[in-house]
């Protein structure tokens, strides 16, 4: 029983743009949470009108925000999501080495990383998705 790791690259484990949570920099927090809920991912990518990545908002960001925020929840939900986003997230290039990328996620203790090429968002690496692909390739 083994996995042919050499057969994997970032592109064939990536999640495409139409299957991940993406919002614009003008969208409010509730839009981000709704998209994350819909796709079942713990990350929402925030892009500008040129599809350039401006930041990411994760489950962890939202947890920390909930612990810190002391106003009414309804006042939080209408704030711009970008205000609470990580502006310089860990990103992966579509041409990155597959194992190196997994090591990076492990080292940073994160589950997801946007795939960015020349500043533009092109997809998402999500560890569950990667593990699923690896398991299904076991011979």
């Amino acid at each position: 029983m083994f996995i042919k790791i050499n057969e994997f690259d970032i592109e064939n484990v990536s999640i495409s743009l139409d299957n991940m949570a993406i919002i614009s920099e003008k969208d409010i927090l509730v839009d981000a949470i709704n998209k994350m809920q819909f796709f079942g991912h713990g990350i929402c990518c925030i892009v500008n009108s040129n599809n350039e990545l401006e930041g990411v908002l994760t489950d962890g960001d939202i947890r920390r925000l909930m612990l810190k925020f002391q106003g009414p929840l309804s006042s939080l939900m209408v704030r711009n999501a970008i205000d609470f986003a990580t502006k310089k997230p860990v990103c992966i290039s579509p041409h990155s080495d597959f194992l190196e990328s997994l090591r990076l996620l492990q080292e940073k203790e994160i589950w997801d990383a946007p795939i960015v090429e020349k500043g533009k968002l092109v997809g998402l690496v999500h560890l569950h998705h990667v593990v699923g692909k690896l398991i299904s390739s076991i011979e």
Binding site: I28, P72, S74, S75, V78
Partner: protein, 291 residues
């Protein structure tokens, strides 16, 4: 920092509202009573504003659709009202604003008015917001008495989705139980988060809505306190309805400010506004515990 909005088309005196701009005043009789009265009020208020060098917008409405009683004065009607506002504009070169309560009235209102007002009770009605945005005029959006300041973001997003990017957000008090309004001064920094300038409506804030059975009461003695507080919280414009003879005013007789107090109140507001701007200049924006 709030974006600047620009009010006035044609040859009227232009009004700019925003941070680092002088305080603006929006005022006039609540309802257009008749041509002579409208012109007289424009003359009196204009003279005071000229003396105090405050940029101003004449406000008066042609239809008061939210009266408590069916027998109350409902307004002079859209055709007559807009003709009178056009004449005020033309004679005094002052930008004018009126609200509209029916989406079908928006187009005609926008053809005359420099600023188009969305009534507080209708501030979340999509059809009204769409109609206001489609006039292409700047929109004066009043916070409903039933709305939280942060939920006004949704109305702003609606206006923006219909192409409007010139919005003034105004607080006119918030319901506390029945027949009672309170002013939460944090509503100004909260509404400023939308990126648009904010305004305080002093004369409606002291209203006791429909507290007299079928007419609203008011506590006008509190106007100076609330004005000074709101200006100190960084408002960009002050709104007050004024009348030469409040007890005989056809609309809001218990809340309109007697015009004889206008110079005093505006002078106080200007002084506090200058102090506020000096404070921001010296100590920076109010960014305490924002992290």
């Amino acid at each position: 920092m709030a974006k600047k909005i620009h009010i006035g088309y044609g040859d009227v005196n232009k009004v700019s509202i925003g941070d680092k701009e002088p305080l603006a005043f929006i005022g006039g009789p609540c309802a257009i009573e008749n041509r002579e009265h409208a012109l007289m009020m424009a003359d009196i208020i204009g003279e005071i504003c000229d003396k105090l060098k405050i940029q101003w917008i004449y406000k008066s409405c042609f239809d008061k659709d939210c009266r408590s009683a069916p027998g109350s004065f409902h307004g002079c009607g859209i055709d007559k009202g807009l003709d009178i506002l056009a004449e005020v504009r033309d004679i005094y070169k002052v930008p004018v604003v009126s609200d509209f309560s029916d989406a079908a009235w928006a187009k005609a209102t926008g053809e005359v008015c420099d600023l188009i007002q969305v009534p507080a009770y209708l501030c979340r009605q999509t059809s009204i917001l769409r109609a206001a945005a489609e006039t292409k005029r700047p929109v004066h959006l009043k916070k409903g008495q039933f709305m939280s300041p942060w939920n006004m973001k949704n109305s702003v997003l609606k206006l923006e989705s219909f192409g409007c990017d010139q919005i003034l957000l105004t607080d006119r008090g918030t319901f506390m139980g029945y027949n009672m309004l309170v002013n939460d001064m944090t509503c100004f920094p909260i509404m400023r988060r939308t990126g648009y300038p904010v305004c305080f409506d002093a004369t409606h804030s002291i209203q006791l809505p429909t507290s007299m059975g079928n007419v609203s009461g008011g506590q006008r003695e509190f106007i100076p306190y609330l004005v000074r507080s709101a200006v100190a919280c960084g408002i960009n414009a002050l709104f007050m309805e004024v009348h030469n003879d409040p007890k005989n005013a056809l609309s809001d007789p218990n809340t309109v400010l007697d015009v004889r107090y206008l110079e005093n109140i505006i002078s106080q507001a200007q002084k506090v506004h200058q102090t506020y701007q000096d404070i921001v200049e010296q100590f920076g924006e109010n960014n305490v515990h924002q992290d």
